[in-house]
Symmetry: C2
Subunit: 431 residues, 2 copies
Amino acid sequence: MTYKVGILGLGTVGTGVAKILQDPIGRHPLLPEIKIARVGVRSLNKQRDVAIAPDLITDNLESIVNDPAIDIVVELIGGIEPAKSLILKAIANGKHIVTANKAVIARHGSEIFTAAKQKGIYVMLEAAACGGIPVIQALKQSLGGNRISELTGIVNGTTNYILSRMYFEGADFAATLAEAQQLGYAEADPTADVDGFDAADKMAILASLAFGDRVKVEDIYREGIRSITSADIGYAKELGFTIKLLGIAKRPKTDGDSNLEIRVHPTLVPIQHPLANINGVTNAIRIEGDPIGEVVFSGPGAGSGATASAVVADIINVAAALKSMPNQINSLMGCSHEHYAKVAPIANTVAQFYVRLLTHDKAGVIGDLGTAFGKHSVSLNAILQKTTVHDGLAEIVVVTQKVSEFNLQAAIAAIHDLPTMHSIPTILRVL
Amino acid sequence: MTYKVGILGLGTVGTGVAKILQDPIGRHPLLPEIKIARVGVRSLNKQRDVAIAPDLITDNLESIVNDPAIDIVVELIGGIEPAKSLILKAIANGKHIVTANKAVIARHGSEIFTAAKQKGIYVMLEAAACGGIPVIQALKQSLGGNRISELTGIVNGTTNYILSRMYFEGADFAATLAEAQQLGYAEADPTADVDGFDAADKMAILASLAFGDRVKVEDIYREGIRSITSADIGYAKELGFTIKLLGIAKRPKTDGDSNLEIRVHPTLVPIQHPLANINGVTNAIRIEGDPIGEVVFSGPGAGSGATASAVVADIINVAAALKSMPNQINSLMGCSHEHYAKVAPIANTVAQFYVRLLTHDKAGVIGDLGTAFGKHSVSLNAILQKTTVHDGLAEIVVVTQKVSEFNLQAAIAAIHDLPTMHSIPTILRVL
């Protein structure tokens, strides 16, 4: 049998997918049965890095999702619109979907999966989170026997690249970002990456699969890495940590009923932790469950080849399912959950904190600080004091024990008002 | 629908599987449809860590594989017989198989898969290699778009535990093995682990999935870790390496036609390599492919919970497939290859080598050595010389550049005959 694929978008990922489908030798034995039927592009005249017969290429994307000959629509244009409308139209026309579009799945997954379920359609999204790392399939299938209690990940390559360089070279954020932009690792407008939006989209997808409930992106607490300075990286190192932008999702009680905690923020990670040594643009996901314990997946989270690998895996999965059962959906391949997770407010969560403070270099500062923290039940694990950084100011770094976010914020508010306090430049969580 | 499972063996893994199936809340939504129908044990009177209704338990294992009510037979008794006969009988009776038995799959997979294919039966083996790490499914499905060029892994937890302790504590092999035996990390007869037989079984399974050809265990070159001394670990450290028992499978040319290289041996691993920091009983697999690049999976390679997680994943996969298509096999879940890989003889492979030599402490020793290596086209990367270790002997460690095994062995034979040479205690490969 032959399965006909319509590809929407021929950028780097689309080109990577087309190259694999055109050159199947030595890959999966099902690939020769998968054919590129149509390719939709924005500009017909652009030079391409892959040879596609001109009569297969169109700039009319609607014609692809409406083409009765096509079995699988591969959406690689990204962004919300027209991607969302094209996906919904393809589903309405009975076509299976493979997408690498984290934004549309994270924000409109509910509408898309509901439509797909009604029509008996697969919506496959391995490429939508962490590129080539096969974590979506692991969550859907391989870890199904487990009660997942925690999923923690480095899910954004750009910020991991920046933080890794800051760690190894002591460079500052602004300079490292500028260099990352020059090298093509960060976009001209880096907001989606450095402010954690991209990571939050991916965490919404990963957490919904790990915990079996839909997650709204807007429920995810989110902080980016713009406030991290080389001073923070230096202190973290001194204390035995590195700093990573982590996505953290956990359900502290595994009764399946308690609130989900889910957040994206820069985090001090102990240097022996398996995520601490994931550097550069590499992504990694650590999953903790009962009875498996801990598994870690790492690999390229982005890039043409890695993302194309995930897209093609999804195409193969759909083709194999269609081959054996054209009219029946395999429930393991779908996203069947329909309820939204109850997400715990950040104020209710518990964490260790790293706080960097600038104080007037006077006697009694440490005592004032300790008293203020103590009044709000914040116990301290470590204090570093560097006297007279500049202008008669001293820098103090504290690491707390595990405290509620609510208590920490109350202590911080009180400390702000201390006469000996100059400012509190950085507050970070510790893994 | 309900899917009826017959479990052969109620040891730690069988107990773990039964516990998951009895307590499905918060795990995969398909689990409540999977029921334990029969459990086969060796001794009916043994105290069990899981509550199974007495009328489900039998010591007649044949009666389970012959029971018409059972859909899936879960083989957890291990070893070759009676496991092999029971599996074949279950297949003949149309039952799907889930097994954690690497020995029977590595040695008799050919017969088992041929029988399964003829009957249209699934034989699932996620638990047969690397316990809970979902690498089998990744190779079968998620990485299908790739041409795999290399699979390297720490696939035996016992040896990794021993080598990790030797690395961190400078302890000797014999003492560490004895301690591992006391702690239950090594068996009373440690042969299968420390001599690399267990790792070879797993590599036969992993390589056959990665490279699409069956691999005979007896074609795998194999060296264990008994010869590793604390001196070797120390020199490796000094040179920037750790020592790991690695399984290495690669197809140097990715034309799908060249010989497969596959071997298990202690290996010097550069300390920055992703496998270098996998310590204790943890397993890890690094897979390199085109276009994905590199992915690494790590997690618990053995133990009740981890192995049960993999077994249950396989049961869920079979149940989901049966639910949607009772009479059709999904080709992605099978092991379809029927040909045997051509395996390159070890003499034809190329590697860097670490050689530790004891010489009489005389002038000209280094010159003699260099000349002997040079004559056989073995170039050197590094030489460490420690004078007068004991009895007037000097210890010399060399690391070669990449050379063919054939040339290295020829050079070693010549060096053995040098009058200044005392002995050559260790020869190891470098990753």
